[in-house]
Symmetry: C2
Subunit: 397 residues, 2 copies
C-alpha cells in the first residue's frame, strides 16, 4: 500500500549511534561507541536471589496489571535513596516510575510541546533526548558548552528572543557526550534564568552517582522552590539497563499530565522490574554498592585517560572528567574527524562522530565520543593504542 | 510556575475506567469493571522456574541493553506461535516486540497521524486505543457495531467522504467492550474496502486465543497480500499482563518507522520479560496451556451469563459471546444507565458506563460493560444478583 507517514516521524532519524552499534556485531570490533554501563558492576547474584524470592512469594505483584504512576513501594524507596544525599524530593512533589529515562523525555515532550515549540539544550547533548523532543514536534536550540557548563549569555539571549521555549534540557553531571560537569555557580545562574523567563528545566541525572573524583554538587532540583525543575533519575547505570527503570519527580500539575501521557503510551512499566528495584533498594547498602561501582569506573577511566596521554598526538584535546562514562575528544585541524572515525572503524575501533550530538548534525564538528565503561581493560589498552597511532597520521589513511 | 501544556495533552482525558478502578480499592467492592485476565490462569510455577534459570544462567541477556526491535529469540517463538493456527505472518513481514499492545497503538499513531487526521474505529471500542490515537492528534470516527461486526455501508461512506483517514482500528475477536466477533464475510468485506480506499487496518487481537465456543475464524491479516493490515498480538491475556509484552507485525516500511518511534519512546522493552516469554513459548505446549485457560474463562462466562438470565429483568439485553473477557449489557428505556451504574456502585458492584467507549462520550448510551474474568465465582454470583435486583427497580434508588 501507499504508506503516508506523519511529518513528525518523517523528520526523525534512526539513531546514528544505534546504526553504528550495528557495525559492532563484528566480534573483532573494539567498541568505545556504546553507552553501556560496565556489566561487571551488575549485582547479578543479588538480583537473582531477589527475583527468585519475588516469583515464589509475591507472584501476583509481578504478574498482574499495575498502576500507571508506578509501584508505591519503589517510589518510597527511590524517595529515600534520592534524598539521602544531594537530591531534594519535596513533600509536595509527585513521582512517577517510567520505562527508562528515555520515556521521561518522551512523556514531557508529549505533555509540553506543540509543533514548532523550542527545547533549549546543551550543545552537544544526548541524542536520544533530542530525538524524543523532535518526534514530539520540537525544534532544538543548542547552547555552546564550556568547561563548567553552558554559556550563560547565550542561554539568556535565547530565552529573551525565542518566544515559545518550553523546556531547558540539562545533564549537569558528567554530561553525555562531553563528560562536563556544570559548576555550582552555573547551576544557580541557570535556575535563576529559568525562573526569570518562566521556563521549565529538565534535570537529567543518569550518571550523577558515578562520581569518582571530587565532591557531589547539589542538584538544581534541590535549589528550586518554585516548581521550575523536573528531575529524571535512572537506575540503568547503577543497577542494570535492561530493567528499563527510571523515575521522574516534579510538580503534581505537571506529573498528572505525564501520567495521562503514559496511560496511552504503555499503561505501566514492567511490574517485575519495579518490584525488583524496590526490593534491591530496600535490601542494599547503596553507599557500599555505589562505592564498588565507582571504583570499577575510576580504574577504567584512569586507564583510558593514561593510555590516551601516552599514545595520542600532543595536539589532540579531551575533557577533564570526574565521573560518568564518556570522554569527549577534539582533534586538531590537521585531522578530519569523519575521516578519522572511518579510519578507526577500518582498524576495528569504534567511536561516535561528535556531530551526531549537535542540535544540527550538519554543523562542523571535529570531536568524537569515547566510552570507557563497557570495554574490558585489554580492549581499552589495545583500542587506545590504535587510535593513538591514527592521531599521528596525516589523514592519508 | 505557569505550566503551558500541549494542546494534544489538554485534549486527552485520564482514562475513565482507571478513575473508576480507583474506587475499587474498597475491599468490599465487587468489580466487574476492570479488564484484568483471570489471575488463576497465570502459569506461576512455570514462570518462577524459567525466571530462576534465566537469572542464574543468562543474567546478561536480562540485564544488558537490548535492541529496539526486540529479542530475536522471542520474535522467532512468536512467529511460530502465531502461524501454528490462524494468523499468517508472512516471510516478508517485519515484527517488533512492544511494551504491551498499548504501545502498538501509540507508535502507530506517532508514525501515521498528523493533527486532524482521522482514525475509524468500531463504536464502541477500546478506550486505551482511542486515547492513544487522540493524543497523537487524531479525530475518531466511530462506525456502528452490529451483531456480526461494524456496519459496512457506514464504513464505506466514511472512507468515501473523509479524505484523511489514516487507519481503521478493529478488534475482530470478542471485541472490547462489546464482546462481538466480526464474521468471516465482514472480515473479507472490510479488507476489500481498506484496499479499495488504500487505508491501513490495525487488527488488534488480544483476546483471540480465549475462544470457548465455536471455531476460530481466520485473521484479516491472513487474508491480506497487499500490506494493508498491521497485526497486534499480546501475551497479556494468555500469560500475564504485568509482563507488558506484545508484538506488532506488518510491512518492513511501516515497522521501520515504528522502530524509530520506539527508539525515542523507551529504547527497548524490558529484557527480562522478553527472555521470559521466549523461554515460556519454547518450553510450553501452548495448545494444552490455552485449553486450560479457555476452560477457566468458559466456566466464569457461563456462570455470569446463567446468573444474568436468572436474575436480570427480561427487558435487559446483552451480547452473545464466544470468548474474551466482556459482556455488553443494554438497559431498557425505563432505566437510565448512568443512574444504574451509580446505584450499583452504592451497592458495591462496579461496571463501566458504556459511553466511555464511544467516539464521543457525550453521545446517549444505555449500555454498560461487565467483566467476568477477574472476579471470583462467589463474586460473580453475588454481584450479578445485586445488579439483577437493580434492573427490576424503576430508577428510584
Amino acid at each position: 500500500m501507499d504508506n503516508k507517514f506523519s511529518y513528525r516521524i518523517n523528520n526523525a532519524k534512526a539513531s546514528a549511534i544505534r546504526e553504528i552499534l550495528k557495525l559492532m556485531n563484528d566480534p573483532e570490533m573494539i567498541s568505545f561507541g556504546g553507552g553501556n554501563p560496565a556489566s561487571e558492576s551488575f549485582p547479578i547474584a543479588k538480583l537473582a536471589d531477589i527475583s527468585n524470592k519475588l516469583m515464589r512469594e509475591e507472584p501476583l505483584r509481578v504478574l498482574e496489571y499495575g498502576i500507571t504512576e508506578g509501584d508505591p513501594k519503589l517510589k518510597e524507596e527511590l524517595r529515600k535513596f534520592m534524598n539521602r544525599n544531594f537530591v531534594n524530593v519535596h513533600e509536595s512533589d509527585s513521582m512517577m516510575i517510567t520505562s527508562g529515562s528515555q520515556q521521561i523525555m518522551d512523556l514531557l515532550g508529549r505533555a509540553l510541546i506543540n509543533d514548532g515549540d523550542v527545547v533549549i539544550s546543551e550543545n552537544p547533548s544526548f541524542l536520544g533526548a533530542l530525538n524524543a523532543f523532535k518526534v514530539n514536534g520540537a525544534t532544538i536550540k543548542g547552547i555552546t558548552m564550556e568547561d563548567d557548563g553552558l554559556n550563560l549569555a547565550e542561554l539568556e539571549e535565547a530565552l529573551k528572543t525565542i518566544k515559545n521555549v518550553k523546556l531547558i534540557y540539562l545533564i549537569p553531571n558528567f554530561q553525555n557526550p562531553s563528560g562536563i560537569t556544570t559548576s555550582l555557580e552555573k547551576r544557580k545562574a541557570i535556575l535563576e534564568l529559568a525562573i526569570k523567563y518562566d521556563v521549565l528545566i529538565l534535570e537529567d541525572n543518569p550518571y550523577g552517582e558515578i562520581r569518582f573524583a571530587n565532591e557531589h554538587l547539589p542538584s538544581i532540583k534541590s535549589m528550586d522552590t518554585t516548581d521550575h525543575v523536573v528531575y529524571a533519575a535512572s537506575l540503568s547505570k547503577i543497577v542494570a539497563p535492561g530493567m528499563r527503570i527510571a523515575a521522574m519527580v516534579g510538580s503534581p500539575e505537571l506529573l498528572l499530565k505525564c501520567v495521562v501521557a503514559k496511560q496511552s503510551s504503555d499503561v505501566h512499566t514492567n511490574a517485575w522490574a519495579q518490584a525488583m528495584m524496590a526490593e534491591f533498594l530496600r535490601e542494599t547498602d547503596m553507599d557500599a554498592h555505589l562505592k564498588t561501582i565507582c571504583e570499577i569506573y575510576r580504574e577504567k577511566a584512569n586507564l583510558m585517560l593514561d593510555k590516551m596521554a601516552e599514545t595520542f598526538a600532543p595536539d589532540v584535546k579531551w575533557t577533564q572528567i570526574e565521573g560518568g562514562m564518556f570522554i569527549w575528544v577534539t582533534l586538531p585541524k590537521r585531522l578530519d574527524m569523519q575521516d578519522f572515525v572511518k579510519a578507526a572503524l577500518k582498524h576495528k575501533v569504534a567511536v561516535v562522530p561528535g556531530n551526531a550530538f549537535l542540535d544540527d548534525d550538519t554543523k562542523p564538528c571535529n570531536s568524537f565520543r569515547m566510552n570507557f565503561s563497557k570495554p574490558t581493560k585489554e580492549q581499552i589498552i589495545q583500542g587506545v593504542a590504535i587510535l593513538g597511532a591514527l592521531t599521528k597520521e596525516q589523514n592519508d589513511d
